[in-house]
């Protein structure tokens, strides 16, 4: 498709009196923290203008006004449901600047939490996709079962959502006692539940009717629009930032990147289910293969006084070395990409040699997917808009930053 055709679908048409404008949001049952200005001709959508920024918190500016480490809990709040994956990119960028690598056990633990978060994030997305067609059972089930994974994450990190787990050089907590058994139980439970999801939701003829063939995104369109995450892979493009081997231990594990060819809303939903299965597969392997060893890089570990370090390590946690309060970033810049539940997150950290990063650029997956609100709905019926929205797993606070 030529870019002019693509543009014609992306851009606003003004001054057409035949068009009926409906403002969905920002106070609307299904708008989330955003506004969609929908232009209708009869029942058919001719244009959607996603008006975002209602929960903009100037994350990039705040991050450059704080010491490097302090930005981790801050950036976490872009996507609070997926907080490990959203910060791992930033932590990797810092590690590249500081020239420190996490020890193997820490990399395994990061992968573990990443996948737990990914499952929770996908369940969140699937639940919202349910409520967007008023399927309240799917919504409640997903949110109820998400609790299992949140509980797992809590037992690992000490917080339900805001884990702040990865720090430059490693992670903050070691595996607790009996974690493996709990995780395996959770996995077996989830596998059964996924079958139930199929029976009541994915295979439900009513749901199929609403999602199948709606909002079709072709592979070349997905590439050109820079769509990320499950929305990209549901269009048949096999790309996942985990394949880059930049973080975690994904290059040491065997797993598949699920891809679907249809590119419609239903395949985007089903793909999330496939990814949950793959994530559980990864968790199983991580728990089997995890090596013994330190969870923080030697460079920082030896800065902690032994009197303090040993009892803490026995408890499965680390103490921060005092230097963490004033971590000096060497001059330079670093790029990092990581795969979140919603898609690829991009970080570019520039440092001028002071304690605070000079510039933190973050492009979140939802921000890159906003363009689909322009691109997909035209030509669909008004009632398809929630179905498309639901299938995109769009998270407004993440896009607004």
């Amino acid at each position: 498709m030529s870019s002019s055709v693509m543009e014609a679908r992306l851009l606003e048409k003004e001054g057409d009196e035949e068009v009926y404008e409906v403002f969905i949001g920002p106070q609307h049952p299904a708008s989330g923290h955003m506004r969609l200005i929908v232009r209708l001709e009869g029942d058919v959508i001719v244009g959607v203008d996603p008006d975002i920024g209602w929960v903009h918190r100037t994350m990039e500016k705040l991050a450059e006004s704080k010491e490097a480490l302090k930005a981790i809990p801050l950036l976490e709040r872009m996507t609070i449901i997926d907080s490990q994956n959203v910060t791992i990119g930033y932590v990797r960028a810092l590690e590249k600047l500081l020239g420190v690598e996490p020890p193997p056990r820490a990399r395994y633990l990061r992968t573990l939490l990443s996948e737990i978060n990914r499952i929770a994030s996908h369940l969140y997305g699937m639940g919202l996709a349910g409520i967007f067609v008023n399927h309240s059972t799917m919504f409640m089930w997903c949110f109820g079962d998400r609790e299992v994974w949140i509980q797992l994450a809590e037992e690992l990190t000490g917080a339900r959502l805001t884990h702040s787990y990865s720090v430059p050089g490693g992670v903050r907590r070691d595996l607790p006692q009996g974690f493996k058994e709990k995780a395996l139980k959770a996995i077996r439970y989830m596998e059964k539940r996924l079958d139930e999801y199929h029976r009541i939701f994915f295979d439900n003829p009513q749901v199929r009717a609403r999602y199948e063939g709606v909002g079709v995104l072709k592979p070349h369109e997905a590439r050109r629009l820079g769509v990320v995450g499950p929305n990209l892979r549901a269009s048949g493009v096999r790309y996942d930032a985990r394949l880059l081997g930049d973080y975690g231990v994904y290059d040491e594990l065997e797993f598949e990147i699920p891809v679907r060819e249809e590119g419609d809303a239903m395949s985007r939903l089903l793909l999330r289910g496939d990814e949950i299965r793959q994530s559980m597969n990864i968790i199983r392997q991580v728990l089997d293969k995890i090596p013994e060893g330190p969870i923080l890089a030697e460079k920082y570990l030896r800065l902690i006084p032994p009197k303090l370090r040993e009892p803490a390590l026995k408890e499965g946690r680390i103490k921060f070395p005092g230097i963490f309060a004033n971590l000096k970033l060497p001059k330079g810049e670093a790029v990092a990409r990581a795969e979140m539940g919603h898609g690829e997150i991009f970080y570019h950290v520039t440092s001028d040699g002071s304690k605070k990063p000079y510039r933190v650029r973050v492009v979140t997956p939802s921000f890159r997917n906003v363009i689909l609100f322009r691109y997909l709905p035209p030509g669909h019926r008004f009632m398809d808009l929630p179905a498309i929205y639901g299938s995109l797993d769009y998270f407004p606070p993440e896009a607004d930053r």
């Binding site: 500016k61 096999r238 790029v335 510039r359 492009v363 921000f367």
Partner: protein, 159 residues
């Protein structure tokens, strides 16, 4: 023409239009001029970098410039490990660049955001409207260095 990997061909092509690509870990860095930006971008698209991952502005008040950085990305297996980074410097008091929306359609929101938060004008962009900031915002672009964030000290004095 068909020798070497696509990345090497792209490097060669960039050299042919007078740019100096530099290899860094995971990044192919190019310093461009505002005039050479569009040709470089077109070349990138031809060689598989078919969308942008980021458009970024960095304010350097000491040099009096704003540096605009484009990170182009590809989903193809041979190119996905390397980002193409095109850096352009524009004067801080008159930051103007041609819009790349015709080359990379997904620059639509990325450029609009950079205009919104950094005040860089992308000529030819069809809708430079407020995106993240409130529509009636008229202060300085918040990501410029002269927009200060209030910080607090560590100590509090009590009586």
């Amino acid at each position: 023409m068909n020798t070497g990997s696509r990345l090497e061909r792209l490097e060669k092509g960039l050299r042919d239009i007078g740019l100096e690509p530099v290899k860094a870990p995971g990044v192919l860095r190019v310093d461009a001029q505002p005039e050479s930006l569009v040709p470089a971008a077109r070349l990138a698209v031809e060689h598989g970098y078919d969308h942008l991952a980021s458009v970024e502005g960095i304010d350097w008040p000491s040099e009096g410039v704003i540096e605009v950085i484009y990170h182009a990305e590809s989903y193809d297996e041979d190119l996905r490990g390397t980002l193409l980074e095109i850096r352009v410097k524009v004067p801080r008091d008159e930051p103007r660049l041609p819009s790349l929306i015709e080359v990379w359609p997904n620059a639509l929101f990325l450029e609009r955001e950079t205009w919104d938060l950094m005040g860089v004008v992308f000529e030819g962009h069809p809708e430079l409207r407020r995106l993240l900031m409130p529509p009636d915002w008229d202060g300085p672009p918040p990501l410029r260095k002269d927009f200060k964030v209030k910080t607090e000290g560590v100590f509090v004095n009590v009586e």
